[in-house]
Symmetry: C2
Amino acid sequence: MANLAPPIDMRNCGDCPIRHRAVCARCDSDELAHLEQMKYYRSFQAGQTVIWSGDRMDFVASVVTGIAKLTQTMEDGRRQMVGLLLPSDFVGRPGRQQAAYDVTAVNDVVMCCFRKKPFEELMVRTPHVAQRLLEMTLDELDAAREWMLLLGRKTAREKIASLLAIIARREATLKQRSLGVTVFDLPLTREEMSDYLGLTLETVSRQMSALKREGLIVLEGNRRVTVPDFNKLMDVTGDDSDGGMLS
Amino acid sequence: MANLAPPIDMRNCGDCPIRHRAVCARCDSDELAHLEQMKYYRSFQAGQTVIWSGDRMDFVASVVTGIAKLTQTMEDGRRQMVGLLLPSDFVGRPGRQQAAYDVTAVNDVVMCCFRKKPFEELMVRTPHVAQRLLEMTLDELDAAREWMLLLGRKTAREKIASLLAIIARREATLKQRSLGVTVFDLPLTREEMSDYLGLTLETVSRQMSALKREGLIVLEGNRRVTVPDFNKLMDVTGDDSDGGMLS
DNA sequence: TGTTCTGTTTGATCTGAATCAAGGAAACCC
DNA sequence: GGGTTTCCTTGATTCAGATCAAACAGAACA
């Protein structure tokens, strides 16, 4: 209901990653002008569905602000999150007809969109776009595989700690702060966390309480989390203990 | 111990996907000649490690024959398979220094390799290579996400059925047979299956026995599997029930 | 022809997370 | 300010799959 018009200051376009990261870095300005003309913005309210799995998808986009999730659902309702899209992440697959998963706005989201057909044509003309997208897709693949280890082999406790560590690290990077003490708001509800981690929301809640009881995290309300000692949290994740600093 | 020399009939090169799928389809013959000169073959014995996680990876490759697995291992030994490489699958990430996972030959494997540096240079000159790789990577990402649903939400029984269905379907496609009745040899040991599915090998064995008891599969020895009715097997996977016939 | 592997099956028991079931607490809304 | 809704926590119980333990089957080999 809330989209297709761009009430967005063009200056925001500076954050648009398709322009910035996929194209701008290496393309000449003619191509850039092309992209400029093609793009349009859409915004989505928290909870709104961007695309349903199986729908034909006639655009590609990148997240400008907000967070969106990719989910797969089984016939009986069991649900698994399979991707979390943060600002600058790319949505949609050039060369593919149908969406493979549901895409839903977690909070209010703005996306920078391009019609698929012309974008694909542009991709043929400007090799750097394909190369940049390949890079981004490889990163996503790495993340997905990390996630598979989590889903297949980690305990509930380790899963929660891993998720908190991921968010804390991202938050620290975003705000250019060190990882020593981190404070942030969880972008996900308990249920979304459970969909992410392959758990029930009760188990998520219990494990959060446990970590709180042990002083590994401090909770103000349900959402605001303080991690007093990042390394202690990392010890619980089961990951290699370099603190993840050598990304 | 067993590599770096090509005792392989050049005609096998017809199966080499880098040539065939990434390049050949759309590139002029000069580029092809380039690729021809660059490539070399390596073969690996069953169980041999192709690359260790963290090693610097100075080549990219594609599987010509055999099957290789990607695995991640936690400090305490818990292991999760995160990828299964079949003939024509691509190994390695242009633009990345280190290998992110262990790559191991499941059975005897031949790979068609290219030194990374010149391959990357070639990628810049020939846009279709990057585009083809992007397509392949997107496919892998889709597979990984399907796999995440399996790991996070499926029961042991559904996991086993899903794995068997995947292999049966691939086998049928390969031999151009219909899916009605399928016979094939499992390429994986019970332990490898458990690594794939996030289970213990005992549970894998038990569930295999259960499917056998119920007549959903017939086992000759441990490896040879007959699926008398593919649709009945699909009913157990928990997947949407189109029988997977639409791609 | 036994001997030793390696891979597999099966049984008994345990346990971590799911399920079932109440309540609490913050946000929203007349 | 009370009522509704949505989200979260906590407790009691159950159960699927892990763990521990033993035995079996086929292949390799001497």
